[in-house]
């Protein structure tokens, strides 16, 4: 129920036992290896962990390329395929084969690139030739003859008739062989005596000489056919490559296993690099949870009787890694805290206090009992069916508890799937945000004040734990009195007592905020500055008005959907069927968008308003040397 207590573990053992000990630590998965102390820097281990790094990247690349053949479900909630020890060893023995497959895949991808370049080039050449398809001779046949010159060219199509007119009766033939957009492609044959005149007439009509490229002694049609044959060849080769890729994909599971085996070794190598070593011995330091410390020590000594294992409490100047430990209910809310930052090792874990507030705020914002019921039923079923482990289902369970709170608040706000079925029991219950908004606003700010005071209480608790009663008086009690007093002053009956409380509170703040300051004037002015903090309290409390706004959004949008669907429902049997489908989808949409809103705004109220009162962040997460991997879960030999 708190931040896990850590111990400093120091392991000094023979280098010959190192591999064995690291494997054992990894299997236990509860020791985070840290950097060796400065005194032994000069003995820093020389082991290079880089040799698997390239393989890891290669395998990941290959798996990405083969992703569309991958039939394993995506492990969103940590449902990894389990691989037994023998299988893993088998894959390890064949590691060169598996890496060979990846190299083959690389070659295939390279070839694909070449084919693509080829295709682009051939297609461009073919497209350029296409307009010349009608020319039934090769370039070699177009050389000049004894009495005749012949050449090819293009001119705007609309000029063709006039050119024919202009050259009418002269010893020349102009034949159109093709069309390229608005240009006519022509073959010109003229008697040598007349060539100059023909040329002039042609250029007067915007004629330019042009020839089909790269056809040599083939006709354009033949060249095009050759290009097409090449394209078909490219396509066929690509098909063959696809097939080969598909066969490579059969090794996906092997690649995953190999990746994870390498990753495990890589983790060990990183741990090793952090150790210090001499010719014979090595020294390794880390953090271990206190409850596991003795067991870890015993196991290490069993493996290596000559080893020295020391367990110490963390020193004042040391900053142990932080791990939160809570029961199943509170634990579900840990992701919210982790999303912000882990608490400092020497402060408190806010999760337990935050959990009920989080659920409450979530419920007030989603505020539709129907939606809440849906979440509270569907999520546990999903977890059961998908067999999601406790560690990975925290987020889902958080939403489930949010759903439960939503049922309660949905009834309080009289909203079930956008309808208002709850009868008015008393003048104020259930609440009616649309017609009596004032009550709901007061309720929201009331919940806000409770939440903020809980945060203030947490700060007081921390100050007491540290033995600083003056801080409790000045920073927490003073504010609590001032705010309660101001609140009471608003009501006529309690005005007098409210004034007194507020004045006492203000006095405490004034005198005790700058506790360390000896100069009385500076001290009072410091207190005055602190009193200005009342404005931040006002904005903090007003911030809880979002509970009203978000709740209103869910309720009113649901109501509007129902009204619109009601119009469809009024139609015949077919219209009723459509209305049912519409009802399901529109409410799922409303649930989705508002659950997201409730989640993020509930988080924000924790992070800014609640945590702002007491939270000390900066804990670094506990990352033990363990068997956690990316794709599969590999069973160690011992576990079986």
């Amino acid at each position: 129920m708190a931040i896990v207590e850590m111990q400093r573990l120091t392991l000094l053992a023979l280098k010959s036992d190192r591999k064995k000990l690291l494997s054992a630590l990894q299997a236990m998965g509860c020791v985070e290896v840290t950097e060796a102390p400065d005194e032994v820097q000069e003995y820093a281990a020389q082991a290079a962990p880089a040799h698997h790094a390239q393989h890891l990247t290669d395998i990941r690349w290959a798996l990405q390329k083969l992703a569309k053949y991958d039939t394993d479900p995506k492990p969103i909630f940590g449902t990894f395929p389990e691989i037994d020890h023998e299988r893993a060893q088998d894959v390890l023995a064949r590691s060169q084969d598996v890496l060979g497959l990846i190299r083959r895949l690389e070659a295939i991808e390279r070839r694909r690139g070449e084919l693509l370049a080829d295709e682009v080039r051939v297609r461009a050449a073919k497209d350029a030739l296409e307009p010349w398809r009608g020319l039934e001779v090769s370039m070699r046949d177009l050389t000049s003859l004894k009495t005749t010159d012949q050449f090819l060219g293009a001119l705007p199509a609309r000029n063709l008739p006039s050119v024919l007119d202009a050259l009418h009766g002269q010893p020349v033939t102009i034949t159109q062989v093709g069309q390229d957009r608005d240009r006519a492609l022509v073959h010109v044959a003229a008697h040598k005596s007349d060539v100059e005149a023909v040329r002039q007439a042609l250029s007067a009509h915007d004629f330019t000489r042009e020839t089909p490229a790269d056809i040599e002694d083939r006709t354009p049609a033949q060249a095009i056919a050759a290009h097409e044959a090449r394209l078909a060849q490219v396509e066929a080769e690509r098909g063959a490559l696809d097939e080969e890729t598909a066969t490579l994909a059969q090794a996906i599971r092997d690649m995953k296993v190999l990746h994870d085996l390498f990753e495990l070794e890589q983790k060990q190598a990183v741990a090793m690099q952090r150790s210090a070593e001499t010719d014979q011995a090595f020294l390794l330091r880390g953090w271990v949870p206190k409850r596991a410390g003795a067991a870890v020590r015993q196991q290490l000594l069993n493996l290596s009787p000559s080893a020295m294992v020391a367990l110490q409490e963390p020193q004042e100047d040391e900053n142990p890694s932080v791990q939160l430990q809570n029961g199943p209910f509170v634990g579900s809310f840990e992701p919210v805290v982790e999303g912000f930052s882990l608490p400092d090792y020497r402060s408190v874990d806010p999760t337990a206090l935050m959990a009920p507030f989080y659920a409450t705020l979530f419920g007030m914002m989603l505020s539709d009992a129907g939606y809440g019921l849906l979440m509270a039923i569907a999520i546990p079923i999903y977890i059961k069916v998908k067999k999601i482990k406790m560690d990975y289902s925290r987020m889902l369970r958080l939403l489930m508890y949010g759903g439960l709170a939503t049922i309660i608040w949905g009834i309080a706000f009289n909203t079930v799937f956008g309808f208002n079925p709850v009868p008015q029991i008393t003048s104020w219950f259930p609440f009616d945000p649309v017609n009596r908004p004032l009550e709901v606003m007061v309720l929201c700010m009331g919940v806000g004040v409770l939440h903020l005071f809980a945060g203030l209480g947490m700060a007081a608790y921390m100050n007491i734990k540290r033995g600083d009663p003056l801080a409790v008086l000045g920073d927490q009690v003073g504010w609590a009195l001032l705010l309660v007093g101001l609140g009471l002053m608003l009501l006529p009956d309690t005005q007098r007592i409210g004034q007194i409380l507020a004045l006492v509170g203000a006095g405490l703040i004034l005198l005790l905020t700058k506790r360390g300051e000896r100069n009385p004037i500076k001290r009072i002015f410091g207190g005055l500055g602190a009193l200005y903090g009342i404005s931040s309290w006002v904005s903090d409390i007003l911030s809880y008005m979002r509970l009203f706004g978000m709740g209103l959004a869910t309720g009113v949008i649901g109501m509007v959907f129902n009204q619109l669907i009601g119009m469809v429902w009024a139609g015949g049997i077919f219209a009723k069927a459509v209305a049912v489908v519409l009802f399901v989808f529109s409410h799922l949409f409303n649930l989705g968008i508002n659950a997201l809103g409730a989640y993020v705004h509930a988080s924000r109220l924790q992070y800014i308003e609640f945590f702002g009162k007491f939270f000390e962040d900066g804990g670094k997460p506990f990352r033990p040397l363990d068997m956690k991997t990316r794709y599969v879960s590999i069973q160690s030999a011992k576990a079986q």
Partner: protein, 162 residues
């Protein structure tokens, strides 16, 4: 419902409803569009965070929903949805327009600004996926003002036709 022969107040009420939906809708469209472009860019670099990016992209969408909500409340309160528009005085019509302005104007502005924060948050998430919680919080900060605008718009619009 006959459209010709409307009272000035009724026309103003419809103008207000339209403004609430149009202005906030423009903002959200711009915002979601901008955020979507960034999301696509970041996802090409780091496809694994795509899910987190979707949450960030969706955040500027809410302003449009708030505007829609206020617009529909005007339509309900003036009887348009029931098929028979009630009498609306010019003063009431003007008040409805005024009531629609906060959610429209603030909705527009905050959606665009929120999208900018969301886009930066996506870059942050792409580089450091563990910071996605912070990125979402930063983005939600902007939303506060849209929620307040929605509240005030709602309170005004809901009180006019009482």
């Amino acid at each position: 419902m006959e459209l010709i022969g409307l009272q000035w107040g009724q026309i103003l009420a419809l103008v207000g409803a339209a403004l609430a939906v149009i202005l906030s809708g423009i903002g959200s469209s711009k915002g979601v569009g901008l955020a979507g472009q960034t999301a696509a860019g970041v996802a090409t670099e780091n496809p694994e965070v795509a899910g987190k990016l979707l949450i960030l992209q969706l955040l500027p969408a809410t302003q449009g929903i708030y505007g829609f909500l206020v617009g529909v409340i005007v339509l309900i309160n003036t009887g348009v949805l029931a098929g028979q528009m009630v009498d609306v005085s010019v003063t009431q019509g003007l008040l409805l327009v005024v009531g629609c302005l906060p959610v429209g104007v603030i909705g527009w502005y905050s959606a665009v600004k929120q999208a900018q924060v969301a886009a930066s948050g996506m870059l942050l998430t792409g580089q450091r996926p563990d910071m996605s919680g912070r990125a979402i919080t930063m983005t939600v900060m902007v939303e506060t003002y849209a929620v307040f605008a929605l509240l005030v718009s709602f309170l005004i619009v809901n009180s006019v036709m009482g």
